[in-house]
Assembly symmetry: C2
Homo-oligomer: 291 residues x 2
């Protein structure tokens, strides 16, 4: 699927990350290198792009939201670094490269994750322009989405249930709606808030992003099952071998595909009354991508 705007914004985010990457001011240490290693390892930049497109649904000067967009990518990168640690998923490769703790060591990876999380809030409070009331709101969006009732909650459930034989569809939903869903919803709301959205507009973006996140996650699971290992940057089928709970493993491949498509449609329907052409395209794109 052609979606030039996605790749344009990807390049913009990539350049902004280079600009905002934490740099030593007082003393140099290896964690700066480790943060940069993981941040610039070539992700899709889906969350920051979503934040920018969500901003654009309400205002045109999306570049203004780049500090917050990068902050969300800092948070996503921190979560991947911690997720890959031996105590968690114990992954050696991420996007075809050694994971942070393999490239450095466990202590450095742990601290690089911790630092990226702190630097995300530092980036917003130091570089994001906007009314202070709105900044406080987007910081709360981000903190709520990443705390015990958000991303961490999903991660702990994932860790607890991985390897178990019987996992229900409801548990799978709980994992993903928290582990990946909450941060995706937060990114979309942050962009919308920064562009001045309120009330029913925010509600629409919230609904949109919830369904987008579902479509995104189900497609991730499908790609892991059937995708091209080279494009994915990891070995296809690794979820199954690790006995990860996935949508294809619970529903089968075909039903998983139709669920992804239904979530994508619901996302687009949520945009009723909003100037969200890019967001609609994004909802189609996430289920048609091959990596």
């Amino acid at each position: 699927m052609e979606f030039a705007e996605f790749f344009d914004k990807q390049a913009t985010v990539e350049a902004a990350l280079e600009q905002y990457i934490p740099r030593p001011n007082q003393f140099e240490h290896v964690v700066y290198e480790a943060m940069k290693y993981s941040l610039l390892a070539g992700g899709k930049r889906f969350r920051p792009i979503l934040l920018l497109m969500s901003y654009q649904a309400f205002a045109s000067d999306f570049e203004k939201a780049l500090p917050s967009a990068c902050a969300v990518e800092f948070v996503h990168t921190y979560s991947l670094i911690h997720d890959d640690l031996p105590a968690m998923d114990n992954d050696d490769l991420r996007r075809g490269q050694p994971t942070c703790h393999k490239q450095y060591d466990e202590a450095v990876a742990l601290l690089a994750g911790d630092a990226l999380f702190a630097e995300a809030f530092n980036l917003i409070t130091s570089h994001q322009q906007g009314q202070s009331e709105i900044l406080v709101q987007i910081i709360r969006d981000l903190a709520e989405a990443t705390g015990a009732g958000g991303m961490v909650g999903g991660q702990v459930l994932d860790v607890c249930l991985t390897g178990q034989d019987k996992v229900s569809a409801e548990e799978l939903f709980l994992i993903h709606s928290h582990k990946t869903g909450k941060l995706i919803v937060a990114a979309a709301k942050m962009g919308a808030r920064l562009a001045g959205a309120t009330g029913s507009q925010l509600k629409a973006i919230d609904d949109y992003a919830f369904n987008l996140g579902m479509a995104f996650q189900i497609t991730d699971d499908i790609l892991d099952e059937v995708g091209d290992s080279d494009l994915l940057g990891k070995t296809a089928g690794s979820d199954r071998r690790q006995k990860k709970i996935t949508y294809p493993s619970i529903f089968g491949l075909e039903k998983a595909k139709s669920k992804a498509a239904a979530s994508s449609r619901k996302a687009i329907e949520s945009l009723d009354g909003i100037k969200g052409e890019s967001l609609a395209k994004l909802a189609q794109f996430v289920i048609r991508r091959n990596s």
Copy 2:
């Protein structure tokens, strides 16, 4: 040394922590229990008390700053949980109790730390009253103090240098001024800002807290060397056995004591022009405590 106000505030903080401790709203999981386990393990509550006393130097209604005071204790607790992990200090005991990863497991401890960090920002943005401009500033204080140029920077240097034979006084200073110093300074500034302090008042609080932090850390090192294991909740002399770099190990016990006293005096001198009776007492208290 008698310092009833310290223990009064300790009780106030303890009650506020019980109030603000993260609670499940959607689904219960073990990380909530782990956060509570570590948060309520009976710390001195030095940082939140400092924040409250710093507030009191400029305004009387210090209870208003309790959400931020608790947030700083969330951050401190998160840093202890991660510091104790096998990849870092690999400590089994903290304050006489099993460390978080010993009581639960490594994944839960890692995630409990991550969640506490997020919940600190959530607490400030959800419960701290005050002008939004000031809230953004105190969030920046906290984020800067805990990022790569702050607490994490000190931790990585500590990890890299522990066990080495030759560590300079300058390196020791770099470790402590970042690992413990930055968060202590942030706590003091946050309290002052919330009470309306600006300009030279903030500068005075910054100087005070920097020196207070030095006095606090040097005294910590001395207590580890000569203190009462029962009062400390850990085995005295453990730093030496772990080849930790400490003030007594570099300067000798007597010179370390005089350095702590000098820092305490400097802290008090910094308060010139500020209504800081409690802060002055605190600077005396930190070098006279026995745990």
